[in-house]
């Protein structure tokens, strides 16, 4: 038993498809207590240490990714949890839902290429003192896979400057040397943004899937450090 006793809620919407992967990594690999929560519920489990909104295609991406899930009953509880300082991570479609909920700023557009992009990408970590990265102990960029059609994050100039100045841009797409450039941008996201914090730093949205690179057997385990960071503070 290496892991501390921690409880994490994983939300499932109709069309979520990375919820089992998240449950496997958080529960089987890392040994935390996982509570599965259906989107129609109105309360999170008691003494929950974190909430994970997994990837997938909630409501078939109808209207816009995440737009309909945002109005699922459980989201009121998730928003209240986040506003009270609770740790929330949204991965891929989870990031899109957090944007639609107003917990994070900006909006997702279709990838600039018009194509679905699925590949491992390098991520420059903006800061290692955040709730989600304090256990990242590497002198190279993270390697974590993306798989999405709408990951082209955007916002207006004033918002971008404010987010940057406040240190809210946690991950940027980069090359293996850590250089952030147009060539290392897989989807057209403004400022190569791959992961974004809220101003308080307790809510993270990210397009890459850390749960898919949390075991060496599956290609890498850089993703694991984000989960241990957010749960072992």
């Amino acid at each position: 038993m290496g892991a501390l006793s921690r409880r994490v809620a994983i939300i499932t919407f109709p069309g979520s498809n990375c919820d089992d992967d998240c449950a496997h990594v958080l529960g089987d690999v890392l040994g935390y207590e996982v509570v599965r929560v259906w989107h129609k519920e109105t309360q999170l489990p008691d003494s929950c240490d974190a909430v994970c909104i997994p990837g997938g295609f909630s409501y078939g991406d109808y209207l816009r990714s995440g737009a309909i899930a945002r109005f699922s009953p459980i989201m009121e509880a998730v928003i209240a949890f986040a506003n009270a300082g609770g740790t929330v991570i949204g991965i891929c479609n989870g990031f899109q839902i957090l944007l639609e909920s107003g917990l994070l700023e900006g909006a997702m557009q279709h990838n600039e290429s018009g194509k679905f992009v699925c590949k491992p990408v390098h991520l420059k970590v903006g800061r290692k003192d955040s709730r989600f990265t304090h256990k990242v102990d590497l002198d190279r960029p993270l390697l974590v896979p993306i798989a999405h059609m709408e990951g082209n994050w955007s916002c207006d100039d004033a918002t971008f400057e404010r987010l940057q100045a406040a240190g809210q841009i946690l991950f940027q797409y980069c090359d293996e040397e850590g250089v952030v450039s147009a060539a290392s941008n897989p989807n057209g996201a403004r400022g190569n943004v791959a992961g974004l914090l809220n101003v308080e730093g307790n809510v993270l949205g990210m397009m890459p899937h850390p749960e898919r690179y949390s075991e060496e057997l599956l290609g890498g385990e850089d993703g694991k450090m984000l989960f241990t960071s957010m749960l072992e503070r």
Partner: protein, 81 residues
């Protein structure tokens, strides 16, 4: 009564779908077309007995909070009887 909500990406936002259609039209040799932007038309059937003001207010709320994302989209409402 029916409300028609049209949602368009705001003009500064790149529209990859529009670009792809533009490319296909050009491949068809339709040189008259200079640009394409794709949006959504959403038809809302409105309950009887509401005042026009009340219906307008609710449709605006629907457009603003759910049907469009004001960060990247604009919307407009028209009415059919």
């Amino acid at each position: 009564m029916r409300a028609i909500v049209e949602v368009m990406l705001n003009s500064k936002v790149l529209d990859p779908q529009g670009k792809a259609v533009e490319g296909a039209l050009s491949n068809m040799g339709l040189s008259a077309v200079k640009g394409v932007r794709i949006g959504k038309r959403i038809e809302l059937e409105i309950a009887e007995g509401l005042s026009q003001e009340e219906a307008q207010a609710q449709v605006e709320e629907a457009a603003d909070k759910l049907l469009a994302n004001p960060v990247i989209e604009t919307w407009s409402i028209s009415w059919e009887r």
